[in-house]
Amino acid sequence: MATTILNGGTLTLTINAIARSEQITSAVLTVELTRNAYNLIGGTKAFKVVDNNATLAIEAMQDWTSGTSDFMDALWLASATPDTSIPFVLTCNSQTFSGSIFPEYPTVGGSGNDALTWSVTFQCAAVPTKA
């Protein structure tokens, strides 16, 4: 089967139902499994997954404006209730990954000779579902 080469142009990300692809320069969804290994008598091994953890890492432009509709303001406001998760949908070449993340305060500022960016790794509430 031929390989489909994908790049970041195939990614879109909505957070709290608002498209944020114009601000986000990188988006990576990672699911890690905690798999225990048990050495059995007789020389064989058994494996058991006992936990999992999903994170959504993004890099984004800082688009601070006076309104509350920009990404930075929305995250800052959402972070006032940090234990309340907000939904996200990441699509990659029409494949959809849906879940919830806990908000984080965005950082403010940066170097004088570059566009202002920031990066964060959001904790997912659970392993996202793929449609």
Binding site: L11, T12, E22
Partner: protein, 122 residues
């Protein structure tokens, strides 16, 4: 927003008719005391996922007459200082090159390049 509108907006923002003539495009024959907006290299780079935004690079040529070293350097410094003051907040100043001599016909100009980048969303 189109590339052309960004380029002309940059030229408008950097206009100071008391100090130089501003060209929003590569001038056929650069003149002394002129500021010329030209594409940088790379011209356009992808910036965000979904390719909704791109980074557009520009090279602004600051031209002064080649006369005496002290005079032309002072003029160049004055013009670059003023250009930095006029630089709009949406344009990121990257660097200013050392002056170089440019021959135009039989005349000589002393030219510095100012590299700036602008994020453009579609």
């Amino acid at each position: 927003m189109s590339f052309a509108s960004v380029r002309t907006s940059l030229a408008t923002a950097l206009t100071d008719n008391t100090k130089w003539q501003t060209f929003a495009y590569p001038a056929d024959a650069p003149t002394s005391n002129s500021v010329i907006i030209t594409p940088g290299s790379p011209w356009v780079e992808p910036l965000t996922i979904s390719n909704k935004s791109v980074r557009v690079n520009y090279r602004i040529k600051v031209c002064v007459n080649t006369a005496d070293n002290q005079g032309e350097l002072t003029k160049l410094e004055d013009n670059i200082t003023r250009l930095i003051e006029l630089m709009p907040s949406w344009a990121v100043l990257k660097s200013v090159s050392a002056p170089q001599e440019l021959q135009v016909g039989t005349a000589y100009l002393t030219v510095s390049d100012i590299d700036v980048e602008v994020a453009v969303s579609f």
